[in-house]
Symmetry: D3
Subunit: 67 residues, 6 copies
């Protein structure tokens, strides 16, 4: 049952994505939900298309690290 | 009025997308909603970014067919 | 795999919801996706919270029928 | 940056919600994202409004446990 | 065409919602999109269900103002 | 707090995106929400994947202008 839609900046490594998928599923398993029931969907969004405080993250948070 | 956000694995054919758009709109028409009011938005997600049971579908469901 | 998020106005009957769930699932079955893989999530939104053309639907589309 | 939209069946306890919020945030902290950057939004959906395999979960999965 | 899904804390006044609907539509009108094409959907989420920095906003941001 | 998910057709210019991000943030600032709290995420969707009235916008609205 649980559906998890995750929005992150473009550039996440495959390793980071795997850890997100595994980790979020485990959160539900830990409260009694079967792993098979959990779907995690990751959406990568370019920093140009993500606004924080009224400006694109590509300008405002130019040096922020993407894991 | 109705907005339908559809999340599928990357690789859907244009023919499959057209059938999804037409079919979902018809479901609403059949219960009395005018076709013009229905918006269907399809989001293709790479199998690497879609987790099922704690693993990316690109590994767990490697051979699953995408229509 | 497919996840379908459906946004409609508050007031949909249970009968209409059942038809939406069954109908949207059938659209995917017809293109070769197993029914068990399809999740359809319906979100009812009050007309006050749904804007069309800059105004709430509760004012602009006061008399529109909800199935 | 990361935004996590979580869709679950209605009836989640406050304790379960807290664990989801804390756990999902920790997943990102573990890969180097600051906790303050993570927003987790939980949406509870009545089982009548959640279709699996073409039927509402309220019928098909009547006895499934909600944590 | 544009669909705008807005997630806010529960408790927004009708006046605030109207201003959000009107204002967001105007943003698109100002770049040449017809008002009639813009749909704005507001989702109110209880502060208990909205996590920031790993904790529910109902605890962490107890005194934050909802317009 | 507010999260704004914006879905538009592919082809939006960087200038249009900046105006959307700035404009939507200002709507919230005008009702008393601090700019820093507003996240705006723009999703560009190919017209082939966006259905209106049962047909892809790439066919039905072939000549519509994207700002």
């Amino acid at each position: 049952m649980p559906i998890v839609q995750v929005y992150v900046w473009k550039g996440f490594s495959n390793e980071a994505k795997k850890r997100v998928i595994a980790g979020m599923t485990r959160v539900f398993v830990d409260i009694g939900v079967p792993a098979e029931a959990v779907e995690v969907v990751i959406h990568e969004v370019p920093k140009e298309d993500w606004g924080v405080g009224g400006e694109p993250a590509s300008e405002k948070l130019k040096h922020a690290h993407v894991p």
